[in-house]
């Protein structure tokens, strides 16, 4: 259940109160099965999986939840193909061309016939709240998916003014500086991955993997004015990740020293394992987020200037 990607949001302190009743709030917004004529549904599901009824899992100030979704898969090629066959049939049997209006009607007919037979693709997206520090962390690197999740919370809680993490210091400038000088903040080390871009419009892009970031090849790119848009990093020898200039954390993984602490006794129930993993992850990430706040300045809404 470890998160793979992190998209960060912050919410003000006065919201914490409304989170006390989060269980009942989310209960009113459970995921409904996608109806035969519906394209998609969204709602909350249990973070423990399908056998469980609980919608949240709470450890101290951390609340884990999961947004589920069901989408009907009806590719437009399928609709168009069926439509074309019917149009051809009309042309053949009745010997006339089909006008735009009738065509539209026919298309709707085709969709309403095919939709109940279309596959349903389930999806789930985990997220957790740090009610003490005011973080909402969504396990995705896609802005659209994360916004979807936030609006689910917004709908369920009535009000939830979470802002995408907005750094005071430009991560791009800072990370470029780290790479040029080879001097990183305490606890951080370079990994073996980066994306460099010329910041001019339609500028050149260089991505490297399994590359020594302090080599001359990389330096040449920096000399020509490219800036760091994504940088592979390791924090404290415990977590590895790729940090983007939009502050999205990608490819998050816990290194061996953390995995060892978890122990091998995964023979216990899945529930206990999830509990242990969530506890470990939320504490590790709180340390990382505290440090990110120090490096980039991520003010919590509502804190006075």
């Amino acid at each position: 259940m470890f998160f793979r990607n992190l998209t960060l949001f912050r919410f003000p302190e006065n919201t914490t109160k409304s989170l006390k009743k989060i269980d009942t709030a989310l209960d009113g917004h459970r995921l409904r099965p996608c109806g035969p004529m519906e394209l998609s549904t969204r709602g909350f599901v249990s973070p423990f999986g399908r056998d469980s009824e609980e919608l949240t899992h709470q450890i101290g100030a951390f609340i884990l939840a999961a947004v589920g979704g069901e989408d009907r898969l009806l590719p437009s090629v399928v609709v168009n193909e069926e439509l074309a066959t019917r149009l051809a049939k009309i042309a053949e049997t009745k010997g006339r061309r089909v006008g735009a209006k009738e065509r539209k009607q026919l298309k709707e007919e085709v969709i309403s016939e095919l939709l109940p037979r279309a596959f349903i693709r389930p999806s789930r997206l985990s997220a957790y709240l740090d009610t003490e520090q005011g973080w909402l962390i969504v396990d995705t690197s896609s802005r659209k998916a994360s916004e979807d999740a936030v609006s689910q919370f917004r709908e369920a809680l009535g009000r939830f003014p979470a802002v995408p993490a907005a750094p005071e210091e430009s991560p791009r400038t800072l990370m470029t500086d780290w790479l040029i000088r080879g001097k990183l903040p305490q606890g951080l080390a370079l990994a073996d991955e980066c994306e460099l871009r010329d910041p001019a419009e339609a500028g050149a892009i260089v991505r490297c993997r399994r590359q020594d970031l302090e080599s001359d090849e990389v330096r040449e790119h920096l000399k020509s004015g490219k800036q760091v848009f994504q940088l592979g990093l390791e924090f404290d020898g415990r977590v590895g990740f790729v940090l983007g200039e939009d502050l999205v954390v990608r490819k998050l993984r816990f290194l061996d020293s953390v995995q060892d602490e978890l122990g091998e006794d995964s023979a216990e129930s899945a529930r206990a394992e999830l509990d242990a993993r969530f506890a470990l992850m939320s504490l590790e990430l709180r340390r990382l987020l505290d440090n990110m706040h120090e490096w980039f300045g991520l003010p919590r809404p509502g804190d006075r200037e």
Partner: protein, 261 residues
Amino acid sequence: MAGEAKVVDLASDYLELATTGGDKIKVLRKSHPRARRLRLTVTSGGARLTYPEGTHPAQVFAFLRKHGEWLERKLDELSLGSAPPDLKPGAATVIPLRGETTRLSWRDGAYPRIEQTGDRLVLTLPRPHGKATLPAARALLRSFLEAQIRRDVSRYLARYCPELDRAPTAVRLRPLKSLWGSLDTRDCVTLDLALALAPPAALRYVVVHELCHLRIRSHSPRFWALVERLYPEWREQRDWLRTHGQALKAELARLIHAPTH
């Protein structure tokens, strides 16, 4: 005295108006298929005369002559009269930054970088200067200005979002032609990059204005009351932008080469 002004037809695109003071003003002429009447406008890109297709040139000249004095006055008012020279590697210049005059100087170094120390902005670029130097400098300036705005905006968001109980989904920065900011249907705020050159108070007004649109998506009296409640000094800032804004946009175009027309 406007009657004495002389209009010269330069190439096909520009007219030149000789003023009584002896200066020459270049005016872009453009026909427009949907134009109903002759129109003289002043933007950061300079003066521009729009006319319906098929208007007789004499009519266009006469119109410009008639309004020459107004044009002169307007250019003065918006302090667009004398455009500063183009950005040139190695040539120190002066730019407005957060409403304060800042010296921009150049230095040699291995890695391109931009640094602000006190009231000086230093652009470091590798020698020898070549074809790529100016674009690199512009790109650096652009990301520097962006970082300036982001820093302020991040504080303003933290301050005003809880008060409004609404939050934008994203904040985008880019040079805008005539607007200062906008809010789209997906609640994404777009701000003009030129605001980095304006005093922070002006930026704050624009941010508050757009955030208020999250609540009220119009410019109704209710909307302005909300702006007033969050930021009582908004009128001064709006007026400041009205008088000095075009000059800022022109300045930004000079620095990062944004399209002006």
